[in-house]
Subunit: 332 residues, 2 copies
C-alpha cells in the first residue's frame, strides 16, 4: 500500500487507476487509502456537472477538459451513473469521449456506477475525488446524469456546480425543476444552435431573477447557511446563464472563464471554506451511517432481521415496533 501511495502522490496514472478499483471493491480499502492520502489534498477545484439525459453533458465535459489541459492543468473526469442501482448501470458502457482523451497525458477519465446503493456510490465518489486531489490534479470534473438526490449529492461534493440544459427541455416553468436553482452556480444551455435556445435561456434567466428575489442568491439557501453559523458574505454571485454548442466547441472558452471567475468568487468571499465544511459534514454523515449498518449487521443476526420482516408482512407487528425491537437488541 505504501508504495501505491507514493506513486499516487507522484501522479502515476496507473497507481491512481489501481487505487480507484480498490476503492470501488471495498470500503476498507477506501478507508486505508483515503486516511493516508487525505492530508495531501485540499488544492483541487471540484466542479460538479449535472443535468437531464440528452443535454449533451459528456460532450461538454470533454471539451472543457481539453481546454483545461491545453492551459497546462491536470484534469480528472469522474462520470458517475446513479441511474441503475440494481444492475450496475453498465448498459451504455464507456463513453464515446474516451476516444478523444484516453491518451492525453494531463487528462484522467474514470466512470463509476452504483453497486447496490446510492449512498455507497456517493462515498466511493468522494474517496476517488480525494485520490485525485492528493495526486495534485488541478481540476476534478464530477459529471452525473441527474435529478433529485443525485444532483444534490453533486452540489454537496463540489465547489462549483454547473447545470446543463438543452433547448426545449425546460421551457415551461413546470418542467424546469425548482431544485436546480438552488444547486446551480452556473447554468448552461447546450445545443444552443437548435431552435428555441434563446427561449430556454430566457426562461432560465427569469427563474434566476425569481430565485434571487426569494433569497437564493447564494449556492446554499439562507436556512442552511444560518445553520452553519455563517454571516452572508458581502459579495454575491448571480448565477449566469451561458449558451454553448459543445460538439462544435462554441462557447466553451466563455464557460471556462466563468468557471475561473466562480473559483475566485468562492475564495474571496469565504464561500470556499463554507463549502468545504458542508462537504466534509455530508461525507462524515454518510460514512457514519455506513459504519452503523456494518456494526448492526455484526451484532444482530440476519435470521433475526428476516423473521421480523416476515412478521411485519404478516401484520403481526408494525414497522416502527419491529425497528424498536431491532435497535434495542443492537444496543444491549
Amino acid at each position: 500500500v505504501n508504495d501505491l501511495l507514493v506513486k499516487i502522490r507522484n501522479g502515476s496514472f496507473r497507481a491512481i487507476a489501481r487505487a480507484i478499483t480498490q476503492i470501488e471493491n471495498s470500503d476498507d480499502a477506501a478507508m486505508a487509502i483515503v486516511s493516508k492520502l487525505y492530508k495531501d489534498g485540499g488544492h483541487a477545484h471540484i466542479i460538479g456537472i449535472t443535468g437531464p439525459p440528452g443535454a449533451g453533458k459528456s460532450t461538454l465535459v470533454n471539451e472543457l477538459a481539453q481546454l483545461f489541459a491545453a492551459n497546462g492543468e491536470m484534469v480528472a473526469i469522474v462520470a458517475v451513473d446513479p441511474s441503475s442501482p440494481f444492475s450496475g448501470g453498465a448498459l451504455l458502457g464507456d463513453r464515446v469521449r474516451m476516444l478523444d482523451l484516453s491518451n492525453h497525458p494531463r487528462v484522467f477519465i474514470r466512470s463509476m456506477a452504483s453497486r447496490g446503493n446510492l449512498g455507497g456510490l456517493a462515498s466511493a465518489t468522494a474517496a476517488v475525488v480525494h485520490v485525485f486531489d492528493a495526486a495534485h490534479f488541478d481540476s476534478i470534473l464530477v459529471e452525473t446524469v441527474g435529478a433529485g438526490q443525485a444532483e444534490v449529492d453533486i452540489a454537496n461534493n463540489a465547489h462549483s456546480t454547473l447545470v446543463i440544459e438543452a433547448p426545449g427541455m425546460g421551457d415551461d416553468v413546470q418542467s424546469i425543476k425548482a431544485g436546480i436553482l438552488e444547486i446551480a452556480d452556473i447554468l448552461v444551455v447546450n445545443k444552443a444552435d437548435r431552435r428555441g435556445a434563446m427561449r430556454t435561456a430566457k426562461s432560465l434567466e427569469m427563474m434566476v431573477d425569481m430565485g434571487q428575489a426569494i433569497g437564493f442568491g447564494h449556492h446554499m439557501p439562507l436556512a442552511l447557511r444560518k445553520e452553519m453559523g455563517e454571516t452572508l458574505a458581502s459579495q454575491t454571485w448571480r448565477t449566469p446563464v451561458l449558451q454553448t454548442v459543445a460538439n462544435k466547441g462554441e462557447g466553451i472558452k466563455e464557460l471556462y472563464d466563468v468557471i475561473g471567475s466562480h473559483r475566485r468568487y468562492l475564495e474571496s468571499s469565504g464561500e470556499w471554506r463554507a463549502r468545504e465544511e458542508n462537504r466534509s459534514r455530508r461525507e462524515m454523515e454518510r460514512l457514519l451511517q455506513e459504519r452503523f449498518f456494518a456494526s448492526f449487521q455484526d451484532v444482530v443476526p440476519e435470521a433475526v432481521r428476516t423473521d421480523l420482516v416476515k412478521a411485519v408482512v404478516r401484520r403481526e407487528l408494525d414497522p416502527y415496533g419491529a425497528v424498536n425491537h431491532l435497535f434495542e437488541r443492537y444496543k444491549r
Copy 2:
C-alpha cells in the same frame, strides 16, 4: 389520538388530513399513528407513477383517479416532490388537477414535499400510505417527479410501477435511462398525439426486449430475488408499452385495464408477497437509520461533531478517522 384513529378507520377525510399533517410534522406522531393503524391495512393496491418532468404525469394520474372512482373505488393520490430538498419545493405550489377532483367524495389528494432530506420524505410517504391503507382505500397512486433514487424509492414502495415518458424525450438509447427498465412494470408514452410518439414507443419496446434478454423479465432483478431466497415464479410479466393522450382522456381505459391485469399477475404469481417483503424490509432499514441518527445526536454533543468537521476541513484529520472517533464515542 384514539378518536382520530377510529375516524380514520371509518374513512373520514378530515381525520386523514389531520393525521397526514401530524406525520409530516413529527416522526413521533408518525410512529404513534402507524403503530396503531398498521394492522388494519394490507389490502390497497399501491401504484407508483414516475417519469421525467414534462411527461404529463399529473394529468394522467388525474384521469386514472377519475376512472378508478367511477368504478366505485376509493382512491388516494399522493404527489411526492423530492426535487427541492432545501426549500421544501413549494415553488410550483399545488396542482391544477386539484380543481377537477378536490370535491370528489371517493378521491383524496395530497402533495408532499421534502423537508430537508430524502430519507425523511420516503418514511413520511410510507407512513401516509399506511394511513390510506388502514382507511380502506382501494388504490393509492404515489406520483413522483423522478429520476435516480426517487424512482427507485417509488418502485420499492409500490406493488405496480408505471413509468411515463413523452415523445422525443427518450428516443436515443443514451437518453432513455437504463434504470427505468428495472423498475417499470408498465411503460406509458403520454402525449401520444405528438410527432414521434410511435418512434418513442418503438424505442421503449426494443429496450424491453433487450432487457428481457439480459434477465429483467421481472420487476426485481435476479440478484435481488435470489437474495430474498425466492424461486422465479413460472409466470412472467412482459412490461407493456402503452400510448395515452391524458389531456383528451385517450388510452386511459386501456391503461386502467392493464393495471388490473398486473395486480392479478402479482397475486397469482406470488410476486405480491415478494414485493410486500421488499417494501417492509426497505421501510425498516430507513426507520432503523433514522433511529440511529436520533440516538447518535442524543449521545454525541453537537459541539463535538462540529469540532471534528472543522478539524477535517483543516486536514488535521481525515473523514474516516473522524468517523471512527465519533462512532467509538457513541458506543462507549
